[in-house]
Subunit: 162 residues, 2 copies
């Protein structure tokens, strides 16, 4: 089946079961141009963090123009909002944390119907930022469960810093 048809088929299939099963999000395309989206914030998950093994690194977070106004209000976010985390290695030299090469790219894409089973967000993560290396095949367990505590911010951890 041609890829486009297959994706539509997957989408229709999953929408029918949206309340029961999470959309695997293997149809999420890797965004380009995000280095010039609004830079939301940066966070470093360092070695002392209990999250280091899963999330260690420098997280540079961006939002596309669709989500900017909602970010400033603290959500909820309109469909087609994309948050992207450009996760990098870092080195520590003389007390300075310096950005290194990319470890991964991660996105949250809002589509309240398509991703109804995961709070209206589709999730994907690419190893090394390589579009051929998607890592998310169970978005509920791999992504959404950690975002659930932020339901009052539409499942987004980031808040706006002027």
């Amino acid at each position: 089946m041609p890829r486009k048809l297959r994706l539509i088929s997957v989408t229709l299939c999953c929408l029918a079961f949206a309340s029961a099963a999470a959309q695997p999000a293997d149809d999420i395309a890797q965004p380009t141009g995000y280095r010039k989206w609004l830079h939301v914030n940066t966070m470093i998950v360092d070695k002392a963090s209990p999250l280091f093994e899963q999330l260690g690194g420098m997280h540079n977070v961006y939002v596309n123009s669709v989500g900017e106004a909602a970010l400033k209000k603290g959500g909820p976010y309109p469909n087609r909002t994309i948050f992207l985390t450009d996760l990098h290695e870092y080195t520590v030299t003389d007390g300075s944390y310096v950005e290194g090469p990319r470890k991964a790219l991660a996105v949250m894409v809002k589509d309240s119907k398509k991703y109804a089973a995961t709070g209206g967000w589709g999730f994907q993560l690419w190893a090394g930022g390589d579009p051929k290396k998607p890592l998310v095949n169970d978005p509920t367990k791999q992504c959404f469960e950690c975002h659930q505590p932020k339901k009052d911010q539409d499942y987004v951890y980031s808040t706006y810093l002027p």
Copy 2:
């Protein structure tokens, strides 16, 4: 004297002495819209750094569109390039370094003639990002001396990370 005329006057005066005296750069306007310029990198100068007292914080560095291509080549930079550092406080919680409020905004503005005495760059720094609180009155001592070792990168510390 109206502000605009006064600035022109200052500029002309200083150009005449460009080889002898650094331009004080009190005419550098604070840029807007930089959160959507190319995000060059982020660095944290932490408490263990010898630079902490002067430069402690999370440095989010951006470059305007004029300087993008030169950044990717490692310089030199064309006139009207602007590098901006949006310096923020940070907190450390459970091993994660989280961005806090703004401490300062700093810029380097390229004008090879006007700022010939400081490598072709004008420097300014605003406390808290407040346009009414410029802190640089001696750009040679306060800024340029620390940038001189990077002469081979046109005095810019940042390099391009894909």
